[in-house]
């Protein structure tokens, strides 16, 4: 099983690394990081904060864009080009294909994250002159990466269901809903109607709550979540990822070609 998954993963990694969108997105992220150097100079002595905020945002955006634009094609391209006709009749489970694709794209995003983070840390180091704040920043990037691993599975799920355009739209929608969980919570708390409250509560728990992975705001000020909180974040990611994987497996196994 390990070899089969690895074979799919290596192939998915190679394919996604060849996608031209990847490098356009990387350039865009580096542009945001670079622009922080200029904007920092007109920020009323807030240069360090601007550079860190922009850098973390750029790295996160890079991850999201790769998932949305490259991830949406992961399964669909294979179906459309019929390369799956070569692969699926081989002794490989569809679940292994999903895991392989997830691992492959996850590796691609990891590589891009490391690359952009290296440039980001160099700039922060040169501007700040000390490496003291690197720990919290690296933690924020790592937790953001965990979020992106979850979103890859979302993207694969939609890619197995529909065209790349719609898969991208749905993935973006999940991302936006996931980061608007505070709005749902507010509605739940303030809504007097029991039926509506129950319905919104259901939505709140069903949709992934992605805001918990956003520790970027706090690390700028050196505020790092407690270890217990981080563990719960990881547990949530793993559990939700398993749910998504099961859903993707069921959908993909039912799919005929």
């Amino acid at each position: 099983m390990k070899n089969r998954i690895l074979a799919i993963a290596i192939n998915a990694f190679k394919e996604s690394m060849r996608d031209r969108i990847l490098f356009a997105v990387l350039l865009f992220a580096l542009f945001i990081i670079a622009s922080s150097l200029f904007l920092g100079t007109i920020s009323f002595d807030q240069e360090q904060k601007i550079i860190k905020d922009f850098g973390l945002t750029a790295i996160f955006l890079l991850q999201i864009f790769i998932i949305v634009f490259v991830g949406a094609n992961l399964v669909y391209k294979e179906v459309e080009r019929r390369t799956f006709f070569m692969i699926l009749p081989k002794p490989i489970n569809r679940a292994e294909v999903i895991v392989g694709k997830w691992l492959g794209l996850g590796t691609t995003i990891f590589l891009m994250t490391v690359l952009s983070s290296a440039i980001f840390f160099i700039i922060v180091g040169l501007k700040n002159g000390d490496a003291g704040g690197f720990g919290p920043l690296a933690l924020a990037i790592a937790v953001g990466y965990i979020e992106s691993l979850l979103l890859i599975m979302v993207s694969i799920l939609f890619s197995a269901l529909t065209s790349p355009v719609l898969a991208s739209v749905y993935t973006i929608s999940i991302f936006l809903i996931g980061h608007s969980s505070s709005l749902l919570l507010t509605i739940i708390q303030k809504e007097p109607n029991v039926i509506l409250k129950t319905a919104v509560s259901f939505l709140y728990y069903i949709f992934p709550n992605l805001e918990k992975f956003n520790i970027r705001n706090g690390v700028i000020y050196g505020v790092v979540p407690a270890t217990e909180q981080l563990w719960w974040i990881v547990v949530y990611a793993v559990a939700y990822g398993i749910v998504l994987f099961i859903a993707a497996k069921i959908i993909f196994e039912k799919r005929e070609f």
Binding site: R4, F85, K90, N93
Partner: protein, 244 residues
Amino acid sequence: MAVIELRDVTKKFSGIDAPVVNGLTLAVEKGHVFGFLGPNGAGKTTTMKMLVGLARPTSGSVSVLGGMPQERNTREKIGFMPENSAFYLYLSGKEFLSFVADIFGLDAGIKNRRIADLLRDVNLEQAGDIQIRKYSKGMGQRLGLAQALINDPEVLFLDEPLDGLDPLGRAEAKEILMKLKNAGKTIFFNSHVLSDVEDICDAVGIIDKGRLIKYGTVQNVRGNHPDLEDAFVNIIKEARRYEK
């Protein structure tokens, strides 16, 4: 002993009233080469997809080597070459075969030897390191055949294996198929090139509009017609006239 069995297999797609495959029953003996013939849209490819696990029958049963095509054990022993094989174009021929071999879990030594042998057998030895996107259609077909053989399968499913090949390529492909037949492999293939079917097949089945209308040895199916192609055309016409 039948290694491929279809029993009353029907396949319907949602939104289409008429079944694409309708009550198909046939069996292929071990070591036989079976040609599955039919006009375009008759249900040949759909049948083949059900045999290799890409699709499931709406009703009836499909059995390959005593097991269902969805089972991993079964798929370890079969090879499949789809029609108009599609590849990862940025890979070279060797890299693609290596990828397929990895899915079968072949050891590195065995894998490399097999890849070298297969590339030589399909006459792609010189093109092994070239990216597939630079291959001609004939080269692609040959690579498709090679990947179907990577695991030394007991049963081979080939969808239009001779399509796009020039006469020399066809002759070489037929030679490979005869070699495989002599080695005791069972081969199930679709083809439009009926002269080649006549040369290598032990049995043929003719399908039209999802129904098996003729099935038997090449001689039985050809009957009194001068060749298989003539028999094929007349059998189809007869079946359609009878239907009306």
